[in-house]
Subunit: 497 residues, 2 copies
Amino acid sequence: MILAEVVDLHRAGAVLDWDQETYMPPGGVQNRSEQASTLSEVAHRRFTSDEVGRLLDDAEGAVAKMPFDSDEASLVRVTRRDYDLARKLPAELVAEIARSSSAARPFWQQARREANFAIFAPYLEKNIELNKRVAEALGYEKRPYDALLNRTEPGLTADQLEAIFAELKAAIVPLVADIKRHADAVDDSVLHRGFDPDKQIRYALDTVAALGYDLERGRQDISTHPFSIAFGPGDVRITTRVNRDFFNECLFGSIHEAGHGMYFQGIGRNLDRTTVWDGASPGVHESQSRLWENLVGRSLPFWHYFFPSLRKTFTEPLEGVDAEAFYRAVNKSYPSFIRVEADEVTYNLHVLLRFELENDMLEGRLKVRDVPEAWNELFKSYIGLDVPNDREGVLQDIHWSFVGFAEFPGYTLGNVISAQLMEKIRSDITDLDAHIERGEFATLLGWLQEHVYKHGRKFTPGELVERVTGGPLTPKPWIAYVRKKFGALYGLGLDRD
Amino acid sequence: MILAEVVDLHRAGAVLDWDQETYMPPGGVQNRSEQASTLSEVAHRRFTSDEVGRLLDDAEGAVAKMPFDSDEASLVRVTRRDYDLARKLPAELVAEIARSSSAARPFWQQARREANFAIFAPYLEKNIELNKRVAEALGYEKRPYDALLNRTEPGLTADQLEAIFAELKAAIVPLVADIKRHADAVDDSVLHRGFDPDKQIRYALDTVAALGYDLERGRQDISTHPFSIAFGPGDVRITTRVNRDFFNECLFGSIHEAGHGMYFQGIGRNLDRTTVWDGASPGVHESQSRLWENLVGRSLPFWHYFFPSLRKTFTEPLEGVDAEAFYRAVNKSYPSFIRVEADEVTYNLHVLLRFELENDMLEGRLKVRDVPEAWNELFKSYIGLDVPNDREGVLQDIHWSFVGFAEFPGYTLGNVISAQLMEKIRSDITDLDAHIERGEFATLLGWLQEHVYKHGRKFTPGELVERVTGGPLTPKPWIAYVRKKFGALYGLGLDRD
């Protein structure tokens, strides 16, 4: 009952967040931040109480002989992990982090607006220190990053990530260069021909409903940055945004968030109102948004099915365009400065850069004043572009304005895991493309619900991948996927490698 | 700090309520009711803790010599009243009320849908018993209703209300009969000529903004039943509804809710996040919605100002109509079955009927099975109509489906107080009508902020009326107002009485 109460408080906080990003009037900021911090404080106090510790001690005895993947054993195991982590953080550190984050935010905003890193530097300095203190409080064997990572992606280490990134970098950097040489092979001018915004929003909603996002238990609104958010199995919402002059934003934004949304909607109701009712980790969550957005939504069979209705909806801009041309357009790869606008090929390089810098800052190899230069150098070497200013460089992400190190790797884990799962899916559903081409997504969704969604947080990312694919986390399927797809799109002849 | 936390929890609960009435998908009901009940339980537990009692004991000493209307003394006095009331209700009774209310609701809905009182009867029986138990737990000197009323309208008694209602009844019943004989004097057919819904919503929003409802700290959405709700001084929202074939619903619904909204927005920021930050009582709150809706919005000077823009917005239905004809139309009085659709003249009779029946039920004079008949008899004698079925009679209001006796009188208190305040306002601002005719509402709003809004809950309804008007609560100004207004509208020659 205490846990259900804590879950309810967090979910209420999520409703407040959703409202803040969608409908809250400007004057509401101050009251809302009071309410949000009260909710999280009350939930934290309740969850970290001695009473929960005693209940856990008792429960651990009771479930000792139950199967690892039973609801009861999983609930106790996951709650214990959360509880121990939460108890390790002193209340005054938690409070200082909250204060520091909200103090830093306006200065990060100003710094970004004015492209002036110096304004933000002292706050980043402070946040590095707080990240270090969090790492010390949580404890780690080898590297401070491990402690932070263990909160978001339990079981993973910085060394493991480094190995994955090294493999990715070795494959992507030359691929980016290859694509650059063949840039003219893909023409995406059709995406910029002007698409009626209301129709885009409506089309996106119809599309995600066709994929399996349940609108009886969800809805789509507009926000500056798209997001998905769950208030329980019965209410999982997504947002999108729309740009008349760039088609990709709305539709792929919606599909991405609906991927998260279908994950939430598929978690077993037997786990509702427990600590286990959530995605396995940000990385696993991202594997679902990326799988639906890219591996499904940016595939040729997908466009064979959807293009005819798209063509009917947007007759003018799509005059003379066919499904294959449109498929090629939405997949155009081009190096760009902003992570959230990055294409499928370059995205992981944006993440790698941040991962390296965070480690360098945490381990004292990089001083705050040198961060912009380090950013720009890495960017040039990975993506081949000269960063024109800090707004389009080191100041672009909100994450470093709050004490949120070790959150970026989840984006790359998402890509990697999505391809690992898809490899397995294709061996289980051999005619997947034929299903997609007919607009039948229930087979795919059913598979994901059965193997991934219904388990909620029962398994760590590593456990889940092992359990589903039979092997450890590896970037190989993703590398094979992009090489094949983009090799074909750009005529790179990689299949002869 | 504990109080601020409790306020924040209630405000978070209010955000959840707002969302439920506006945007929540159908599947969200179960999760939302869990979250709402957790929030209210946590807030209740915190507020009724011994710690709050100790803090109150200390604070009472500290404020003993401060002025009655000081922030500090008021805060302690109001908190003490809330605390004592809350502590008097045993936790198991509170829980039983919550369970019983949510159990009753679907049966009330079904009963209403099927116009079959028998379906709802056992739940009403149970709710009467719970209301009695609440009254016993809270304690009263004379009548159980006093105990319930003291929660919503502190300081008022059933006897006082009876006297007010007697005076009202003596004036209204003959007035209704008079109007009936002159029914043809007012033609409201223009209201049913078809008004574009989107334009109505927009016009209503522009209108309430012109009155002074601050959209930087508010917004308007659509819901089945219009309501207003506050999450703090920075975020006070209203909803409205719209009917193409009946003009009054949207505009007057919006003005009504904006009256509540401006009250909330005007409460002193010095009182924010305390128990005093709220309207003085439901009755005083209603005085503001009714004042803006009826005494301002249904006045001739108001329409002299707004009609030209209305005419421009709705050229077709308003062809050949002038401000005075429109003023007469929106004021047409006709007896009707449904309280929430009642006009200004008959409204209080709907309330009186409920007030009498609630007392009869509480004091054991009326058995549940006889309630429909008693309703229909009273309705005939007060309003002169034969109730065709229980859907349009005893089953119309949601209030008796939860344990909410003694809530109806607030509607009549609102009418009564609005007229008392307006009498005083007109003696302070002698050219009020000229202001309104020029669309200048700041003088009126400023007066209300200064004399009513800024005080929040510092004063009981009786204290506030006494303080502002120099006299006790009395229905005389309201009676004089309706006799004058409707006497003129219907040519009843009442000024010669």
